[in-house]
Symmetry: C2
Subunit: 132 residues, 2 copies
DNA sequence: ATAAATTTGTTATATTATAACAATGCGTAA
DNA sequence: TTACGCATTGTTATAATATAACAAATTTAT
């Protein structure tokens, strides 16, 4: 059978909704705790939903934080090319969508000629608010 | 007292040696197992050594793998600006040292004008060997 | 309708990382 | 020198993150 690519299961919808509502990246277990009333009882249910949502480009994982954010790029068709801005102080995370940057990285070729079909870039610094 | 910045403790030397010898990224617990004969008995000892070595730019953490590699850039003075090439098939990881790339990223400025003092970039694809 | 395959639920456990405190070493002021 | 303070290292315990394994339910194919 061919995989359904445009339908979200109940668990996936619940998890996505929580992540979209959040103002900051959410950890898997904090998601688990906040959806237990809605019938999601165990880690694998959360992790499966997260995996699926990542594959669909609906959410991204912030690797340096083991946390998850909703994609802000109108459902990222390029979930394999992600860039984030992370504040070291308030931990705010925002997805960078900068055509020049993504073009540059998508076309990047190293010395050996290896080409890449996926990248993840995480920038760290102080956000405007925290710099003051 | 001011911090010593150029001296490695015994544990740090042992951990660094193991990582430098390895041909692939090492996980913290695999490091722990392989240094237990040498007197390192518990996770915090390994994690402390890793933290220190990271700060010194002697090693880097591959965030997407929770694994550690030795810096190949002659002791990275720019441990805060890292880029890696990761093969999805054989899991080979190599540090990218490309002046153009690092310059581009170091100077990158997003829409809001936020500037960054640190970044980590992980590229994924198939290495030459695995592409054949 | 039945069997096969896929997805979801559940239990258990593996893996990664840190908290908390004790023991040790080390510089310094009396 | 000694004894006090502070930093580093060792140790125990536990927290946080993630997956394996199998059962139950649902969907799909025959
Ligand atoms: Zn996105
Ligand atoms: Zn901030
Ligand atoms: Zn390096
Ligand atoms: Zn390869």
């Amino acid at each position: 059978m061919t995989q359904k690519i445009d339908f979200l299961s109940k668990n996936q919808q619940i998890v996505l909704e929580i992540i979209e509502k959040a103002k900051e990246p959410l950890k898997a277990y904090s998601i688990l705790f906040s959806v237990q009333k809605r019938g999601i009882k165990a880690p694998p249910q959360v992790y499966r939903a997260l995996d699926r949502l990542i594959k669909l480009g609906k959410i991204h994982k912030i690797e340096s934080k083991n946390a998850f954010v909703a994609c802000k790029n109108d459902s990222c068709t390029i979930s394999n090319a992600t860039a984030f801005s992370i504040c070291d102080s308030c931990e705010m995370v925002t997805e960078i969508s900068n055509p020049k940057l993504s073009k540059y990285l998508a076309n990047f070729q190293d010395e050996t000629g290896m080409r890449y079909n996926k990248y993840n870039l995480e920038f760290f610094g102080l956000c405007k608010k925290c710099k003051k």
